[in-house]
Symmetry: C2
Subunit: 361 residues, 2 copies
Amino acid sequence: MTRPPAAIPPADRAVHVVGVDSGGSGLRVALGRVDRPEPVVTTVCAEPVRTGPGGIDPAHLLDQLLPAVRDLRARAGAAGEASSGGIAALAIGAAGMASLGERLRTELPGALADALGVRRLALAADAVTAYAGAVGQRPGAVVAGGTGMIALGTDLRSWRRADGWGHLLGDSGGGAWIGRAGLDAAMRAHDGRSGGSPALLARLVSVFGPAEELPGLLYPRSDRPAVLASFAPEVAACAGADQVAAGILREAARHIAEAASAVCPRDEADDGQVGEVALTGGLFRLGDPLLRPLREELARLLPRARATSGTGDPLTGALGIARALADGGLRLPRHPTMLCVHAEGPEKGENGDRERTATPG
Amino acid sequence: MTRPPAAIPPADRAVHVVGVDSGGSGLRVALGRVDRPEPVVTTVCAEPVRTGPGGIDPAHLLDQLLPAVRDLRARAGAAGEASSGGIAALAIGAAGMASLGERLRTELPGALADALGVRRLALAADAVTAYAGAVGQRPGAVVAGGTGMIALGTDLRSWRRADGWGHLLGDSGGGAWIGRAGLDAAMRAHDGRSGGSPALLARLVSVFGPAEELPGLLYPRSDRPAVLASFAPEVAACAGADQVAAGILREAARHIAEAASAVCPRDEADDGQVGEVALTGGLFRLGDPLLRPLREELARLLPRARATSGTGDPLTGALGIARALADGGLRLPRHPTMLCVHAEGPEKGENGDRERTATPG
């Protein structure tokens, strides 16, 4: 069976869009309407999608996504929403999409067209859905911080990325980085080396037990970055009274601001950096001990940019990308691995050029 | 069958001692004579001793050690050495001995007495055999550097240890630390963040390929610290012309000197630190780019101590401990996990007190 462009349901029949956020804690799925910004219904599949030697497993993703979408459509129908008609567009943001998403990019367009009639699909890096959730479709930058730390910016022509290289190659200033620096300072105090913090050593012993037994607890675990990041709140709690802890958070703030500065779009007239820098993710729940030096570092490096807390999360961002794809208004730049778009039929507004295609899709 | 103290063969019959160095690259075994410092014959078992949930596996160690000792004694006999008589003492230095050696301490004394007639046994942390090889039985400190970094010092009354906590909690200034700092600086250059080194980025690309593919190469491996450490020579090679690389080695030197300073014995009269600081292990083969700043940092922190390159390796150290145990002259301090000694019968010179036991063993 061929699917000619004319078979794309018009927006008045395909009223729904789907956003997906796939990460280490599982799959979150939202069903929304083309004509409304907020989700109608959402659900969570607690099992993280498997990653094997061939990358993220498309079959394992579909095994969870398809029942979830059926369930969401049934719930929307029960709530008085139209449950018939197609899904106008679907967007998936996934951790590791850029480096481990090749099979998703190859197999999902056909599989989702067959199973759900989806003809417009976006496959995005989780940093891109974080951007879409926090900044929307405007130029700017996002810093997504949790266990790791990545900065992503765009002038709506191309993307710039800084860091996000993982706990051994970077993620400088993220949760694992802060926790590791805190534990290093604690072990220095234990050994009597300079640079040590007795306050952080006391926290280490309170959380993990005797310092000399921490290596035996940490190294056998497969979630070492998460274990390191679990100590970041202890560093923040000590920062008010402990100079070493305060210095760690000051250095983290500098690393984060440097990453934001590297990706923030530049004003063409004077080459200064402008726009919004959104801070999003669990890292910033460390609060003032991190945010105070971070605001100072951002003011120093990006005096003309505006730091904000992002308004929406990556799931909201995925739903927003799906909605923009459905109505032909996607302005965020396509990219072979970071924002890969599959669309059948005419489309409005590619790359923000809303005038290029005169015929509505 | 009981083994009374009188059953210990006197030194003129038990002419041989055995030293063992167990590490990540396998088991090295040396047979020596009680009355000569150098080994007579040595051998290598390429398979590293298994470490399981219960720690280092004594049966797996014995499976390799017993045939190796039989082979060494046969070779010594063929070379004209007396091959009869017992083994006067045996010393094993092992990576992880302190935290993972409980089963060795429980099971090996009986097993080695039964299999080889060994009545004097020392089980030592690899840092202790490194100390014994590099410094001998004098007060001082050793810095053992390779992928990791640990400093160990003694005044012959007790041991002091600094660092050696592994690549996520310390090992500051070691091979993995230097390599990681170099790769971090390379990724900064790739991203356009400050603190980056284009020279190190060029080396990264030359060694590993495209920078953005390095996380996919590194994180799936189980020998991540070794991969990081493999980049340390590139950092050293860049240090002559690259300020960032030179800064990394300067900081590594400071960390190493701080660890040495924390463990170096103090003169009781004026509390100044004295004695020998021996630098041993593959780390110092990085040469002048590390050694020049390290000599400066040691001169600053330990002006009255004498930095040397250790004369013997950990296998020589294990053999030296066995020889000292055989003739009752072991002066290095016993410790429940770092230097655990099992000896039947009278012994001379415990803890350097050569006068305590008048009767020779």
